[in-house]
Amino acid sequence: MKQKNFNRIQPRLGGVSRRDFMKFCSGIAASMAVPAALVPDIAQAVTSPQRPPVIWLHGSECTGCSMSLLRSEHPSLEKLIFELISLDFHETVSAGAGHQAEAALHHAIEENYGKFILVIEGAIPLRDGGIYCQVGGKNFVDTVREIGPKAGAIIAVGSCASWGGVAAMDPNPTQCVGVQQVLGDSQVVSIPGCPPNPYNLLSTIIHFLTFNKMPALDGKNRPKFAYGRLIHEHCERRPHFDNGRFARQFGDEGHRQGYCLYYLGCKGPVTYANCSTSQFGDAGSGCWPVATGHPCFGCAQEGVGFHLPQFSTSPVLHATPAASHAPITVERGQGASPGSAALMAGLGGAALGAGAVFTAKLGSKGTDHEDEKA
């Protein structure tokens, strides 16, 4: 991006330098695994005045997803985030309140009908007509049903919006469900996690802004760039797992040595997320749960997080390499045993003998006088 173009948007970015801005764009490109050559396209898309705005709604949740976006460690990143994605409406960070805020929401929707990106944070309670979550006197489920069809794209951020999360934990008294279950016909991109890494959300939005389509999704509508692999596959403690070195109790020798937390109930082997490569919640290197010595509890995986007991072991989905202890020294083959050598020598000798007998019977002139019969 040229300095001239950057100057145009710099007032919106506050103290962010052009260099930091391009670093941010490169980081986004890297986390989506798109080629570096597309970084200028990304910069162009996120600074375009015509970019579609983001409207952010809250349901039954704790606002942790928004918090993880706000409390990023990078300087002024919150500025970048909220300015770049043109966040026109966000209930918990908007200055206005009450009817004023509601009016702003409806204004933003009408202005950008069919174009805006709808981000929903939080589960949607359905019991008793959905009365257990109301905003502005209106049941949240009705709000979602009303606004959802008007959006250009819908993203469910966090485990609650993805499938119900903590709000839908057994016995689920308010019958909370995810956004997809309410907006059955529309495609709802799901960014699970409690909270998810903010880059997973930002990258998805920016992918949409840059290429005008959502990134490649898996069967549960999760972006493959972030949820394509198990945490276990790239875990920093994976070598301990493969070599059979486990922590058996909190604080035991293995735990202090930083061994694999599988037997403490780690759900990394059944949870699809990029925590082991992108870290968790953008909290910085070495600060994701497994690195701090606590087993993953599978917050990003439906049927695992808030569902399986936290300290019970999970099944290992892909046991490659072997879940058993891999040998460091291997037996380097066996030489001839008396049996195998005798067999080969015996049959070899018999074949030679048969050949010799046959040769001896062959005349030096062409005649047939053999009595063998096969």
Partner: protein, 383 residues
């Protein structure tokens, strides 16, 4: 193919046939064990020697033995030497079983054998892999060989309509039957070219593909002589020495070219000292080439090669020499690093012997049931 070929008939359950079946039965036991409990339960193969007897003998040596069909088709249909036509069908029969059993052997040798179908899925193919080329060629050639041999089935069962259709496409099958072995026999050499310094310099050379192609040619011819000599005696087909001696003459030329290239290559790379160093590998090199030289010596002289006994000895020497070359390249001259060793286990050997026994049993069965040997050429040769 030959209009005069007819089934030999006669008793099928001969003692030889029954002994072969017994060996096949033992091999089946070990094959079952391998499929149920894995390769490690039957073989001595290890990470240093991932290719053992099954690849070295059944595939690498076995397909060279089975090159009879290849060289005879090349002679008769490409070089138009019609006088060898009576030898084509027996050679094809031996090739058919040789290659089929090589295919079975590979199936036994692949760790996850149920994944073998991936070879034929175009989106799984790696066109940069030599092993893919070999696997694809051998896999295809097995089918081509069975189709090349189909006229014998057609004659036996009087399939008139099928015969007409087959005659329209058989030229393409024969062309494939010559093309495919040319490709994969040289690629068998390329595979060990990639072994790099692990292979002794006596065998590791960039001419390995050419050497493998030439050994396939003369071993194919030698096998035709070997097998025709035995069957002519065992089945009283009459003497074929005159026609086999002509093959011997062709073989002597190929052998001479091969040995010239082989020794020129060793001299050029300065490895002649290794060959005569008295080391085990040096002696293996000498033994291998001594056998080929004996073959060349006997075949080069018209007087020796028209003597059925000396012709047979020459064919044996060439077969042993060629096999030694291939064994040396694939196992004996191969050193994957300190401490690795390999010798085929009893079960591993028994499967290989079982495949050989199956080949013999099936061959004796087929020549009695299907028109393979031509009656007239035996009569011609008798004159």
């Amino acid at each position: 193919m030959s209009d005069h070929a007819k089934p030999l008939g006669g008793r099928i359950c001969t003692p030889t046939f029954l002994i072969c079946l017994l060996v096949v039965g033992i091999a089946l036991y070990f094959a079952g064990k391998r499929f149920l409990y894995g390769i490690g339960s039957v073989t001595n193969m290890n990470d240093g020697f991932p290719w053992g007897l099954w690849i070295a003998y059944d595939v690498v040596v076995g397909t060279a033995f089975a090159c009879g069909g290849y060289v005879m088709a090349l002679m008769v249909y490409i070089l138009n030497r019609g006088e060898f036509h009576p030898l084509v069908r027996p050679a094809l029969l031996a090739s058919m079983f040789g290659y089929t059993l090589a295919g079975i052997s590979v199936f036994l040798d692949i760790g996850r054998y149920l994944n073998v179908y991936n070879l034929y899925l175009p989106w799984q193919m790696n066109f940069h892999s030599v092993m893919f080329e070999v696997a694809m060629c051998i896999g295809t050639y097995i089918f081509v060989l069975w189709l090349e041999f189909t006229p014998a089935f057609v004659e036996r069962w009087q399939l008139k309509n099928f015969e007409k259709r087959l005659n329209r496409v058989i030229f393409a099958l024969i062309a494939l039957g010559v093309l495919l072995p040319t490709m994969h026999q040289s690629s068998l050499g390329t595979m060990m070219l990639m072994a790099g310094y692990k292979l002794s310099p006596l065998w590791h050379t960039s001419t390995l593909p050419l050497l493998f192609l030439l050994t396939a040619l003369f071993m194919g011819f030698a096998m035709v002589v070997f097998e025709a000599t035995i069957s002519s005696r065992v089945y009283r087909l009459g003497d074929e020495t005159s026609i086999l001696a002509q093959i011997g003459r062709i073989m002597s030329w190929i052998l001479a070219i091969y040995l010239l290239i082989r020794f020129q290559n060793i001299f050029m790379r300065g490895e002649m000292g290794t060959a005569f160093s008295g080391s085990f590998l040096g002696n293996m090199f000498l033994l291998e080439n001594l056998m080929l030289l004996i073959g060349l010596f006997l075949l080069a002289s018209a007087r020796y090669r028209t003597n059925p006994r000396l012709l047979f000895i020459a064919a044996l020497a060439v077969l042993i020499g060629g096999s030694l070359f291939r064994f040396n390249t694939y196992i004996i001259g191969f050193d994957p690093g300190t401490g690795w060793k390999y010798f085929p286990s009893v079960g591993e050997q028994m499967i290989t012997y079982g495949l050989i026994a199956f080949e013999i049993a099936a061959y004796t069965l087929f020549v009695k049931v299907f028109p393979v040997f031509s009656a007239s050429h035996a009569a011609d040769a008798n004159q």
